[in-house]
Amino acid sequence: MSFFRVEDMHINLGEFSLKGVSLEFERGEYLTVMGPTGAGKTILLECIIGFYHPEKGRVFLEGRDITDDPPEKRRIGIVYQDYALLPHMDVFKNIEYGLKKTDSNKESRRTKILDMAESLNISHILHRKPTTLSGGEQQRVALSRALVVDPRLLLMDEPLSALDPQTRHTTRALLRQAMRNRDITVLHITHDMDDVWALADKVAIMRDGRIEQHNTLQCVFNRPCNQFIADFVGATVFEGTVLPSSNGHCLIDIEGLVLSSTDHAQHGENIKVALRPENIMVFQQRPDNHSVQNIVEATLEDYYKEGILYHLFFRSGEVRIPAVVTSSAFHELNLERNRSSFLSVNPTNVRIT
């Protein structure tokens, strides 16, 4: 039995609802939940922790049904985007607040708080009121407060999204370190792909009160099960037909564009194929190296720059293929709109979903 399991959870709060959410994960795993605004992510957290009682469905933790337990009995911690620190208490008392319920020894509490403060680099602000702290400091205090009571499961609702990019980067690193040291089980809601890449073992994608796909990071990013998820995780899904093949690879016809894949499917089967733009290699000349496979001549239709990356959109016949290159590669390849280039993708990166 899984460490944590949600079974067919339904709730309707008017504006937000859950329509049969099921998910499970194991002790020590880090699950990120992504989805557009209004998908029901926060409601899911608040049902798991017990602030709302689901109209239907059950929640199991360590094999026990906790659906009817009040939040104070569940030992599930929560960290919010807006920190929710108690403004009438200083940082020390905020962290001590939950500990008072589990540890009656003042000296032991003090030791735990000082250790936690040191590990999250907030020892110097223990005497200050939350309103005098920066966003990053407040988030570290909120995290300390949740972790110091040793929760069985930690829920985080966009914990880094209110921080500026630099602070977000350092807090994410600190968060990763804190989680690794504690072997804690986490469910983390985020909109930020960087959070997912840096922290997650598993990803669940939500839409309209439902989980659309829930699997390992690699699986969801490389094999999105539909176009919505593909769009969400930055992949592209094509529909194709499996052709007869002789070399053991699967040949797939995508509107006249034939690609070879190391995945398997039956001849004549209609399938969906996912490609990630970072797996598309771009060449100025046709590569003559035999190890390069799946070579396609394509015309650059459009591109835009984002940070140090260029997002490129090629067309080969009826098929539009997105790719991404660094700024320096873009200039080295001398890429221009309506100019032909050669694309290649390794058969291991042509994923049948």
Binding site: P71, E72, R74, G77, Y80, D82, A84, K101
Partner: protein, 260 residues
């Protein structure tokens, strides 16, 4: 430097006009009677009785008002339940009621109905008694305090309470340790407003408690009775006393609010 436009001038003029008018009105109360008259009237037996009754009933009513306004305000802010809209409208209704009508309703409730008779049987007789003064003040001030408490709890981030629950505190413990301390300023404001409403209640007290000389006579009743007799000195002094008590309450509120 603020650029003066006709719109801003209009806004400022309307603010200053009303402020000046109020200052003149309040000053008139203090200017018209002589200091000797006011001092003599303050030590008058009727004034002493009235002041004492006003303060005692005002304090008791305010405590009762806050005792109900806190849970009702919290309920209306935090809980969703069937009939919430109706409850909200009914508890707020006395704000829009003329005090005399509210007094009449209470007079009928405590006088003629089974509820009134049942309360009377256990010694809670509200009609033409000092307990009636408290009841009248209570029902007049309660909706104001509820409104302030509801707004106060609305402004407290419910996630602070959620986090408290997740850290092992029950809903009641969370209310005591998180919601109440954070509502400090609102509680203070509601207390001062409730007290000011209680000591100033006239119509409801007059109808329910009777406004009898030296029996159920609060400061507003003293003002009314003496102005009816033509005793302007006593009427003005009771007006001054009401303004002073309200001023002291507001002053304490401002000082305490700054510390919270």
């Amino acid at each position: 430097m603020l650029k003066i436009t006709p719109f801003k001038t209009g806004l400022l003029l309307s603010s200053f006009f009303i402020t000046a008018l109020l200052v003149c009105a309040i000053s008139a109360l203090f200017m018209v009677p002589s200091l000797e008259d006011v001092m003599a009237n303050i030590w008058n037996e009727e004034m002493q009785f009235s002041l004492k009754l006003t303060l005692i009933t005002g304090v008791i009513s305010t405590i009762l008002v806050m005792g109900f306004a806190l849970p009702i305000g919290y309920t209306l802010s935090r809980l969703d339940f069937w009939g919430k809209g109706v409850v909200k409208t009914i508890v707020n209704l006395p704000v829009a009621f003329p005090e005399l009508v509210l007094g009449l309703c209470l007079l009928l409730l405590f006088g003629k109905t089974p509820i009134g008779k049942a309360l009377s049987a256990i010694g809670l007789d509200f009609v033409f008694t000092r307990k009636g003064v408290v009841a009248a003040q209570f029902f007049t001030a309660l909706p104001y305090a509820i409104r302030i408490m509801k707004s106060t709890f609305d402004y407290i981030n419910p996630r602070m309470e959620f986090v408290s629950r997740s850290l092992g505190y029950t809903q009641f413990e969370t209310f005591i340790k998180v919601s109440l301390p954070l509502a400090g300023n609102g509680i203070l404001a509601a207390t001062v407003i409730a007290f000011a409403r209680c000591i100033g209640t006239f119509g409801t007290v007059l109808i329910l408690a009777g406004g009898s000389y030296m029996k159920t006579e609060t400061l507003p009743i003293t003002l009314y009775l003496n102005i009816s007799y033509g005793n302007m000195g006593m009427a003005l002094t009771s007006g001054i006393m009401l303004v002073v008590v309200s001023f002291v309450a507001i002053f304490i509120f401002e000082k305490t609010e700054a510390k919270l």
